[in-house]
Amino acid sequence: MNIEELIETEQQERERQAGLRNRILCCSVAGCTAAAGSAAIRGSIEAAIQEQGLPGEVEVCGTGCLGLCGHAPCVRSANLNETYHDVTAADAPYLVRGDRSRFEGRTVRDTDAFYAGQCRVVLENAGRVDPERVLDYIAAGGYKGLLKVISEMTPFEVVEEIKKSGLRGRGGAGYPTGLKWELVARQESPVKYVICNADEGDPGAFMDRSVLEGDPHRVLEGMAIAAFAVGATQGYIYVRGESPLAVERVRTAIRQAEREGLLGNRVLDHNFQFRIDVRIGAGAYVCGEETALIASIEGQRGTPRPRPPYPPEKGLWGAPTLINNVETFANIAPIIRKGSAWYASMGTAASRGTKVYALAGRIAKPGLVEVPMGTPLRTILFDIAGGVPAGYAFKAAQTGGPAAGCIPAQHLDVPMEYESLQAIGSMIGSGGLIVVDNSVCMVDLARFFMEFCMDESCGKCIPCRAGTVQMHDTLDRIIKGRGSEADLDLLAELAGLMRATSLCGLGMAAPNPVMSTLRHFKDEYLAHIHEHRCLAGSCTPREEVALV
């Protein structure tokens, strides 16, 4: 495909879609497909279209995450601007007919707080585009960003544009993306690589896989723009082995993009070459760490190595390597298309743009939401996601997996951005938000995360390998009613040691959940120690306590 053809294809497909009476889009990512059977529902809708004699007028297709994952499966009626949840196959004829009365109590309109309160950039195509059809992506303005950089911009200008946008890495650390690109672009080397980190190992995080499964071309386009900017010709997407659907979708997308000449030897018929290969992880959390991920692509054990040198200098096979997160890449095409000023107008001074959060736990509408950086936690949880169901009380939100911390009720108004969360001992991390109610014991939660880190420690450095075991056993002792106050000092000492001396982020961050629960919920620790009692009433095998 060359530039004219891309523009023509966009127009043709747009007109075709506009000519339809309705488009029914079934969520076709993880939860809705695998667990809740949206594929069967799609089949029933197809049959209902035939039955009602509407082929060519009403169309059914898959789409990215509609956001209401806790009420799967979800289906969207495009022309009615409505999304229905808890859909069954029996609803199919009503969907096709556009009979809205059937869905009373199961309808979320675009004007309702759940959607109207969001600001969708990364998820803009969810509910609009079929992830398995490149034409759909093109009709929604896809690959226009790539077209723009190839035909109008120099690599230097692209890097400047990303710098001006203020985009920061969404993989957890929040490193300014433009600066990272500049570092790689400056290296003199005939070979450079671009890697997309799609390992997403944080338990409770499902943003990246939803983006890959729901809008894979957006990530490919972001990677291609990055490759143009830094001068790379080969890219890799490292996808978590536990997400087979994401692997399949990405592979399909790469095949389609290559066939259309959007990736390959002459991208858009220009003198720019870029290929992408998929690498599948094999279930090791530490492989999300960039140097471990690189080792894994090289076919080695996924253990991190000391930095510097950082990957922009010495990465994959020793060559300069740009490594960014899925959501980071997903932001690139819109920034190029709409300009850095537009992007920088969202969010706060230090954290620009939007962030996708995966909500789970005790919340009315678990699922995916995207809001501007700096949105207060209360707005996300209560205004958009419907708050905590009746009969339960909000206790804390656990952010960003085993590396982050908890946000207790008194901090509900904290603006969600990198620095303000750090100030209260938490962090955005990758973007998982798990709401826990009063029945969850925070000491038990801390032990849960420590057990995770203990299992996942790669064993290369001693502070992490031995420290996680020590901390876990200490927490276990406290929970079983055999702890003492001295154990709390021991926890703090171990935490300091691990933070200062671990080789990679896994060991450095492993103490975070412990220290943050100690900070906000010390009374629960003390109740376990002094009264052999769990304030939440959830943990402690009581027999064991009785033995003490």
Binding site: A30, G31, G204, F206, I297, Q300, Q398, F449
Partner: protein, 146 residues
């Protein structure tokens, strides 16, 4: 598939990667999906073909959780112990297998990415969602019906 077919397919996968040591993880993924698990013989074969020391191959195979080094039992369950599932009662679900279905091979998973439907267990490849211990017992019994 016969053993010869399997061997041929694995050979083709290695050939496609040019028998390069860098492709070790891809090759192990393929070997496992062909044979079900990675036997010592299979690991030795891969080491020879890719010209890698056996220690490197075994080291990689044991490092990653998804590689199975022993044959799989006829029934497999993966109990998700991600944060959402854990706080929604996953530990009790693991106990169901221990108490009622001891012949199932039970693994612990770290978040399948369907946290909105927690807690969940994947039984013989089929995801079971929004579980309680009672519901899980019913679902497993249904699965075991011929």
């Amino acid at each position: 598939m016969t053993d010869t077919d399997r061997a041929q397919r694995l050979e083709r996968v290695m050939a496609r990667h040019g028998y390069s040591g860098d492709s070790l993880i891809e090759v192990l993924h393929s070997a496992q999906s062909l044979y079900g698990y990675l036997s010592p013989k299979l690991l030795a074969l891969v080491a020879t073909k890719l010209k890698l020391p056996p220690s490197r191959v075994v080291g990689v195979a044991t490092f990653y959780h998804l590689f199975a080094l022993a044959p799989k039992a006829p029934h497999q369950a993966m109990v998700c112990m991600g944060t959402a599932c854990h706080t929604a009662g996953a530990p009790e679900l693991a106990r169901v297998f221990h108490d009622y279905f001891p012949d199932w091979q039970v693994k612990v998973g770290r978040c399948v990415g369907c946290c909105g439907l927690a807690p969940m267990v994947i039984c013989d490849g089929k995801p079971q969602i929004r579980l309680t211990p009672e519901k899980l017992i019913r679902q497993v019994e249904d699965l075991l019906q011929p």
